[in-house]
């Protein structure tokens, strides 16, 4: 099938599927309303139901035949005919299936949260409903329709996978879907659980005025947090389990999963986000303590102990995720029995921790240096009480961020001392150093612009007014912190460059990746970071083509050290 026809069929399938799903949802909602799920009215009739039914029938009447014809054509092309294999392997097909699964799971998550909220509302009714009344029948209908649609497309993908090896987009697009859902499920779950823990702490403490911390009462907070925790947990566990099951499976799918870059990237991403969220949550409690010490005017009534406990409770899920994912990664690497894998996992873990710690530490340091400049040069930033509140917050970031960076970086320096050439050749280390330099430079752009603005304004006699010291102290502080990062990490990078063997760059650039994700990944399948680079190619041509001659020609133009082997 040519690409244009393929695009047409999948686009039509998508549009008609959306129409069909909306119609089916409306149809089911009307039926459930009619069965009394909405209750029996005490006043007024149900003029809306017949209208809704008419519209639903119209949508199904239009959507169903158009979708059925186009989807039948799509599936026929995949299961039968000379191009069936090409269709099964088409990237557009994988994109379509992934997109449909993603949209359905997103809508299902929203509906599931709504359903949990309705249940919680029934158990803990509020007199003042912030979000209005949620329609139980509509929510159940949405869940049912999107679950059916998701199941149909997930089954279609399973049949595609069972049909044989898939490459490129056909392999990684559905995988990307799986890991994106896993990631967001985890984030939503942790956030919801943290909120529940906070509410529990405030409730147990018997604080008389929880509204000072929260926008509403306990029931309102629980209504928001519980659905997030339950639905996030379900999304995370189900998709993580599916990924681990694929990784543990035999055959091409398992091997492809184990060595995928998406799987590899997921692990440090989770660690980074968990570390980031942990510091944010803990800084809230620490900031409250420092605020008391610095005498900020407290605008919240609950006691300091409750604020600290609530902040710590919110951090617990993130700290647990951080620790668990770090351990899973290290365990998976150790299970391979390959020292290279162990070093790689430890290196990745520590660099992620160092990066997060450096980010908080650098921002806080820049702000503190700025205040110091302001005080020394007689600025006006420390007039009033507002700066004390900022000071307590940035001090908390510095107190949490800098030790995290120092702790991880000192161990990385020790690793480098033990194996200078090995560490200097590490892609992870180089990525960290370049990231630190790059982010520092980008973050200085705004500060530089402010400094230049004042300078040019002064030279041109623009009479900019304001307190020049106070306006320049924050950008100058940021510039000093960024300059320190750029210089230090730049020197590290240069030192690495001097130690790195000339051949290391080329070999490392093409090195295959493997994911030390969970213990479910078979150790034997985890490729080492420093193993030889290898990719599989399939050379095809029309009947009678001299493939041997083509192969010989390709071998003739290969760079030194690279070979083409027939499998």
């Amino acid at each position: 099938m040519d690409t244009v026809r393929r695009l047409y069929l999948y686009a039509m399938s998508a549009v008609s599927l959306a129409v069909l799903a909306v119609g089916a949802q409306a149809l089911l909602t009307v039926a459930l309303h009619g069965l009394g799920l909405r209750g029996v009215p005490v006043f007024g009739g149900d003029p809306g139901d017949r209208q809704a039914l008419s519209l639903a029938i119209a949508l199904v009447g239009v959507g169903l035949p158009v979708w059925a014809i186009h989807w039948w054509l799509v599936e026929r092309s995949v299961r039968r005919g000379a191009d069936a294999e090409a269709e099964r392997r088409a990237g557009i097909r994988a994109f379509y299936l992934s997109a449909v699964l993603a949209v359905f799971i997103l809508v299902a998550a929203i509906a599931a949260m709504s359903l949990v909220r309705i249940v919680v509302s029934r158990l803990m009714p509020l007199s003042d409903d912030y979000y209005g009344y949620e329609d139980l029948a509509g929510t159940i209908s949405t869940l049912f329709v999107v679950a059916a649609g998701w199941a149909l497309h997930a089954q279609t993908r399973r049949v595609d996978v069972a049909g044989g090896e898939l490459h490129g987009g056909a392999a990684w697009l559905p995988r990307l879907y799986r890991y994106v859902v896993t990631f967001f499920g985890l984030v939503i779950f942790a956030q919801g659980l943290g909120e529940i823990a906070k509410v529990a702490i405030v409730y147990v403490s018997g604080t008389s005025s929880p509204d000072a911390i929260y926008g509403g009462g306990y029931a309102y907070q629980l209504r928001q947090a519980l659905p997030a925790a339950i639905v996030g947990l379900a999304a995370w566990v189900s998709h993580a389990w599916a990924s681990d099951r694929v990784a543990a499976s035999d055959g091409w799918h398992g091997a492809s999963e184990q060595t995928s870059r998406i799987r590899l990237g997921y692990w440090p991403l989770v660690i980074a986000v968990a570390a980031f969220a942990s510091i944010i949550a803990l800084a809230g409690g620490l900031g409250a303590v420092l605020g008391q010490v610095l005498g900020t005017s407290a605008d919240v009534s609950p006691s300091l102990a409750v604020q600290i406990a609530a902040a710590a409770a919110a951090a617990v899920p993130w700290l647990a995720i951080w620790w668990l994912h770090g351990r899973w990664g290290r365990d998976a690497a150790s299970a391979t029995g390959d020292p290279g894998r162990r070093t790689f996992a430890a290196r990745l873990d520590r660099h992620v921790g160092a990066a997060v710690g450096l980010a908080f530490g650098a921002i806080a340091t820049g702000w503190l240096v700025g205040v110091l400049i302001d005080v020394v040069l007689g600025g006006s930033r420390t007039v009033g009480d507002g700066w004390r509140h900022e000071l307590s917050q940035f001090l908390a970031w510095a107190v949490l961020g800098l030790p995290l960076w120092i702790w991880n970086w000192s161990r990385l320096l020790a690793l480098r001392q033990a194996d200078p050439a090995g560490e200097a050749s590490s892609a992870v280390r180089r990525a960290y150093l370049l990231l630190a330099i790059g982010v520092a430079i980008v973050s200085t752009l705004g500060s530089l612009a402010i400094v230049l603005y004042r300078l040019v304004g002064y030279l041109l006699g623009a009479g900019l007014g304001g307190n020049a010291v106070s306006e320049l102290s924050t950008p100058l502080g940021a510039l000093i912190a960024a300059a320190a990062i750029v210089v230090y990490h730049g020197l590290q990078l240069r030192s690495d460059g001097e130690l790195r063997p000339a051949t290391a760059d080329a070999a490392e650039a093409a090195a295959p990746v493997a994911a030390p994700l969970t213990a479910a990944v078979p150790p034997a399948a985890m490729a080492a970071e420093d193993t030889a680079a290898r990719i599989s190619l399939e050379l095809r041509g029309p009947t009678g083509a001299d493939l041997e001659a083509t192969l010989a020609m390709l071998r003739g133009v290969l760079p030194e050290g690279q070979t083409l082997a027939e499998g």
Binding site: G34, F43, D46, L53, L64, D135
Partner: protein
Amino acid sequence: MSNGRSIGLIAGSLVALVAVAIVIVMLADRRQPQEFAVGSPEATVQTYLKAWDAGDLETAYSSFSEAARQRITFDDYVATSKLWRESRGGDVRETVYIDRSTIDGSRATIYLVVETTYGSGLEVNTYRDQREISLELEDGAWRIADALVFLDLARDYMVYEEG
């Protein structure tokens, strides 16, 4: 399951759902409004709403507590009701459901779900929100604690004469 068969199954299920939904909606339309025990807070609210809908403002007014009636005379109530109906605009339909109720001694609260439908055809819009009505037990009968125009507080729409 083959491709054609699974599509046929989906199509068949949807056609069956269409038929079932039509039957359910037709049967549901014949259903009478929910009835409540005479003398209950819910029955008072239902009586008030029926009277309001029928334009029987005397009965509606008599559903309010003595204190509420002292705050607004019947004439003012009639004028306020007229003003409310004028401000409401046409082509608006409400369906009211009782979500739950609580009784605490001589006070009761009825939580209502109000489904408001605007427009018609493809321009139809429906939204749902929650209201609550407070009632007081007066001489053994439940009365609405505040004078209402439909489900809104009458005092929010009252016309005050100068002087």
